[in-house]
């Protein structure tokens, strides 16, 4: 009977039941039935007992795990670009950067207290140099590659020189290598390492030894290699390779197991016992033999995971605290990560934020919020990640199940979810107080639409709109006018293709396609479908140019009849205005401009009414709509916070060269070029007043929306008549309305 006692221990069965069992078994051991009964009981008890749960044990136990790296922003020179930052001695760092975009003058700053305070060092010879790459030596000297002759833009001349406070010494014999120079480093033996894009070339400046090439096979930049003593650590695809700089031979390599697409930055541990590397998933330490990998800092809880941040350099000190050099919103920042043994290992409060699709703005807001609240962790749950077979439909059903069981996520991103239904069913909490706290900051036309007497159950954090720019477009108010305008142009070239038509025009058509009671307005829909079908026919020869910057470039060279598309970020307006300035003609306006244009909401925030952490969730929503979180530019939409939009609009001086480039029409072979200059304050106020006059689009069922897009596309392709399309859509919408009646 000992096996029963073993069962008792394993399954945690109460001892009384085991005694009863033993008694019963002894009574009728000979019977075969008894064995069956025994099996039934074992099955029954196994179903009723609990397994040993790690989480439970942790909860029941009094031990709370502590010890975590805490992040802090350090005062750093207000650089817009850093050419290099190097640790030249213990606790001493030197950096070379500029405060004028990428252009001179360059400044050298130095910190001798582990990055806490910085002071400028004057290098007179740097005054007018256009530096491409540089690196500091241990004694504070600087190797730099610069453009020595820019008289002919097609054949710029480069030179590499040694610069210190005394002056400049041009290096001879490396002119040719300087042409392909994307970064510099110095070895312990004062050899120069030149980054040539996908490999590093080690050059003996005395010219005694032949250059050694270290091939990465993947793009290299300043953060992806580091020299430590006589070793070179270089990040290559999934591996970090270690080379001996004396011999040029590979002496080791470790595999990085993180699943990240962001660039990897490497550094060595000060006692040479391991390698640190970081990407957007966090900071990791890996032993030199590659056997042990540990996550030192969780990317989701820190700057590492923020979409607006580009990691540039990582500098561990002897206490294994870190300095992280990064670029965020066109500004260079230095962050310090110091280990606090008393900080909770995991934040004490955990919230779940659900979104059907990944949203950079939300990721950024979570990062910022968690940085302000170290005791709160928000787990970002992206339902349709693309890495598995889960469809949007599966995800929605799963969400419904969780919400109905009372275990739903705390915060919901309601994009492509049935918002109206969620509100009707009382799933969403009232956000009125949170929104009213920000009322002066938010766009009034948006808050008026979402705030009602019954409450505010959802609010968009971002928005897009559609714009049209061109010559003589003053009379273009409706889709019909637009198609007539394109028809009247001699070349009829636009960036619109039949495939894009429904995607572009659905948000602006849908308000007029449905009556107040939700039924289809058949006559309007028929007219619009007929017009759009005609647009599809005349656009069938067009090439897909969906982005406003590319359209502006082409239109500026008269390669398109007009600019038409979705405005997702303010930066695109600099292209549109620059194109108008270049042609010295044309205007820009929202489309359609019958009722002031249509705003398309995105990153729509909602809070689960049944959330146990509803107060924190509402606080997060308020934070996500605040200036601090909204003052970031992403291609997924413009801020609904007016102050943040203004701040983004003023983030550059008017006339600042924002970007630009060339476009080639592969059909005609024509080249178009446009340099985008940042818009003026007057133009910014024009954009804002246009946005203030627009109305938020009416959301309808996402399922119905998908059917409308699919069926209308069939109609434009010519595989289905307008009558059939209308009949199907009428049927679907009627059914949808009946279901919800």
């Amino acid at each position: 009977m000992n096996f029963l006692l073993d069962f008792q221990e394993v399954l945690e069965i109460p001892s009384g039941i085991i005694n009863l069992l033993i008694l019963g078994v002894k009574e009728s051991m000979r019977s075969l039935k008894c064995l069956s009964i025994l099996m039934c009981l074992v099955l029954l008890f196994s179903a009723c007992t609990k397994t040993k749960d790690y989480a439970m044990k942790e909860k029941e136990g009094s031990k709370i795990l502590t010890g975590r790296y805490l992040e802090e922003k350090i005062d750093f020179p207000e650089f817009t670009n850093v050419i290099t930052m190097d640790q030249v001695a213990d606790n001493t760092y030197m950096t070379l950067g500029t405060k004028n975009g990428y252009d001179p003058p360059y400044e050298v700053w130095c910190s001798e207290d582990n990055g806490n305070t910085w002071k400028e060092k004057k290098y007179d010879s740097l005054s007018d140099m256009l530096i491409i790459s540089a690196t500091f030596t241990a004694n504070g000297g600087l190797y730099a590659t610069f453009i020595s002759d820019d008289s002919n833009p097609n054949s710029l001349q480069y030179q590499t020189a040694f610069i210190d406070e005394k002056g400049i010494t041009v290096l001879q014999g490396v002119e040719e290598l300087s042409q392909y120079n994307q970064g510099l480093a110095v070895t312990k033996s004062e050899d120069l390492l030149i980054n040539q894009g996908t490999n590093l070339l080690q050059c003996d400046l005395d010219g005694v030894e032949a250059p050694i090439s270290y091939v990465a096979g993947s793009p290299l930049w300043a953060g992806s290699y580091r020299v430590f003593e006589d070793r070179l650590i270089m990040s290559c695809k999934e591996e970090i390779q270690i080379f001996d700089t004396n011999t040029g031979s590979k002496i080791g390599g470790v595999i990085c197991k993180t699943n990240s697409n962001s660039p990897r930055v490497v550094a060595t541990q000060s006692d040479d016992s391991g390698i640190f590397y970081c990407d957007d998933t966090g900071l990791y330490r890996i032993t030199m033999d590659g056997v042990i990998t540990e996550q030192v800092i969780d990317g989701t809880l820190s700057t590492f995971g923020m979409p607006s941040v580009n990691l540039l350099g990582l500098f561990p000190d002897s206490d294994n605290n870190f300095l992280l050099l990064c670029k965020a919103n066109d500004k260079i920042e230095l962050k310090s990560f110091s280990y606090d043994p008393n900080a909770l290992l995991e934040p004490s409060k955990n919230l779940i934020l659900f979104s059907l699709n990944d949203d950079k703005f939300i990721r950024q807001a979570i990062g910022l919020y968690q940085r302000e609240h170290p005791d709160i962790k928000i787990t970002y749950q992206v339902a349709v990640s693309g890495t598995d077979a889960i469809t949007a439909s599966d995800a929605k059903r799963q969400l419904s199940t969780e919400l109905l069981s009372g275990n739903g996520p705390d915060i919901l991103i309601l994009d492509n979810l049935p918002i109206e239904s969620f509100i009707r069913q009382g799933v969403l909490a009232d956000l009125k107080e949170s929104i009213q706290g920000l009322d002066n900051e938010l766009f009034r036309n948006i808050s008026e639409q979402y705030l009602s007497s019954e409450g505010c159950f959802a609010f968009p954090a971002r928005m897009s709109t559609q714009i049209i720019a061109g010559v003589n477009i003053e009379g273009v108010h409706t889709i019909g006018d637009l198609v007539n305008y394109i028809d009247s142009q001699s070349d009829k070239r636009t960036g619109i293709t039949p495939k894009l038509i429904m995607e572009l025009f659905y948000p602006i058509c849908v308000p007029s396609w449905f009556n107040a009671n939700g039924e289809i307005n058949e006559s309007t829909m028929r007219t619009d479908l007929t017009t759009l079908k005609h647009l599809a026919e005349i656009s069938s020869q067009n090439k897909n140019v969906p982005y406003l910057n590319a359209q502006s470039t082409r239109w500026s060279g008269k390669g398109l009849s007009l600019i038409y598309g979705q405005l997702d970020n303010l930066e695109d307006m600099s292209y549109v205005y620059s194109a108008i300035d270049k042609r010295q003609e044309g205007v820009v306006k929202l489309f359609p401009d019958v009722s002031g244009g249509v705003l398309i909401p995105s990153s729509i925030l909602g809070v689960n009414a049944a959330s146990k952490e509803a107060t924190i969730a509402k606080d997060f929503v308020q934070f996500a709509l605040s200036f601090e979180a909204q003052n970031n530019s992403f291609e997924t939409g413009m801020p609904t916070n007016l102050n943040a939009l203004e701040a983004i609009g003023k983030s550059h001086e008017p006339g600042f060269y924002f970007g630009g480039g060339g476009e080639t029409d592969k059909t005609t072979g024509e080249n178009y070029e446009l340099g985008a200059l940042w818009f003026t304050e007057l133009q910014l106020s024009q954009i804002i007043s246009l946005l203030e006059s627009a109305e938020m689009g009416t959301p309808i069922s996402v399922d119905v929306q998908q059917i409308i897009v699919d069926e209308a596309t069939k109609c434009f392709n010519g595989t289905q008549s307008i009558d059939d399309t209308l009949s199907i859509l009428n049927q679907v919408v009627t059914r949808h309305l009946q279901e919800n009646s």
């Binding site: 009964i37 289905q720 279901e739």
Partner: protein, 299 residues
């Protein structure tokens, strides 16, 4: 704790009588499955019944409001009428065709196993693959329309017209006919051969044998096959959903489409009320079938 009672010294098992032994055995054998059924079927159904009288988040009792709402809902009425129409068309058709097939297969002496297996094949084809096949056949530019155009017949949009109902019926019968045929064959194998021999001695022909021996003897099988076919008919939603999505043509808009859409839109209170109504109707139907055919069998 309740189990401490068992560990007390004064507690002893008395010798059990034979009847008590048997009862205890029954209980122990039934207990695991009974617990399973309770946990996975009865308790959830009880919760569905409870939720049918509350609002969405089950926080407020609303009486019969959900039921009246569901009964007045036009989408529900359409779904019910389509489902009933589907069952009324499909079940007799399936029963008759599968019975005929069973009779034919029974007559085949060479390769009978091959035929049985062949007719069962549609059951093992995954639904997703089958749906692909249907799409290839019945798309507007699909195989059937290209065949029709060869015969100078105008193409039809099979899935967006009334024809979609016929396509769904065909799909259901094609998939289930083999299964029902096997059930009929199992029922036929239980009919004593002596009955046929005696009838033939008395001068009965094959038709008389079928109507006076086979059919009456298959009554108990008919009950089981009918119930299973009705239950299987509800599974046809998978095909309809995968072919035509959440909002198919009106003629194949079934109860499960409605339930699925209600669930996604969190209209759980309506869904529960409708589920209770449907369960009640199905149970009533089963009781009626059992009462009618079961009584006749007893006679």
């Amino acid at each position: 704790m309740w189990w401490r009672w068992f560990t007390r010294r004064e507690f002893h098992l008395r010798p059990l009588s034979k009847t008590s032994h048997e009862i205890l055995s029954f209980i122990f054998f039934l207990l695991p499955s009974f617990v399973g059924v309770c946990y996975f079927v009865l308790l959830p159904f009880a919760d569905v019944v409870r939720r049918s009288f509350t609002d969405t988040m089950a926080s407020k009792f609303v009486g019969l409001r959900n039921y009246s709402g569901v009964l007045r809902n036009e989408a529900f009425q359409l779904a019910v009428s389509n489902t009933v129409r589907f069952v009324l068309v499909c079940i007799p058709l399936l029963l008759i065709l599968s019975l005929m097939l069973a009779l034919l297969v029974r007559k085949v002496t060479i390769g009978a196993d091959f035929y049985k297996t062949s007719f069962l094949l549609p059951m093992v084809i995954p639904v997703a693959s089958m749906v692909l096949l249907w799409r290839m056949f019945f798309a507007k530019q699909g195989f059937v329309n290209s065949l029709l155009s060869c015969l100078d017949i105008a193409p039809t949009d099979w899935m967006n017209t009334g024809w979609s109902f016929a396509v769904l019926v065909g799909s259901y019968i094609w998939r289930n006919i083999g299964y029902d045929m096997i059930l009929w064959l199992a029922g036929m194998s239980g009919i004593p051969a002596a009955l046929y021999e005696a009838a033939r001695v008395d001068g009965a022909g094959p038709i008389q044998c079928f109507f006076f021996i086979t059919l009456p003897q298959l009554r108990s099988s008919l009950l089981i096959i009918s119930i299973l076919s009705i239950l299987n008919s509800f599974k046809v939603f998978r095909e309809a959903y995968l072919i035509a999505g959440n909002y198919p043509h009106d003629s194949i808009y079934l109860l499960q489409h409605l339930f699925n859409n209600w669930f996604t839109n969190l209209d759980i209170q309506k869904l529960c009320a409708a589920a209770v109504l449907v369960a009640a109707v199905i149970m009533a139907l089963i009781f009626v079938l059992q009462a009618v055919w079961g009584q006749e069998e007893c006679r």
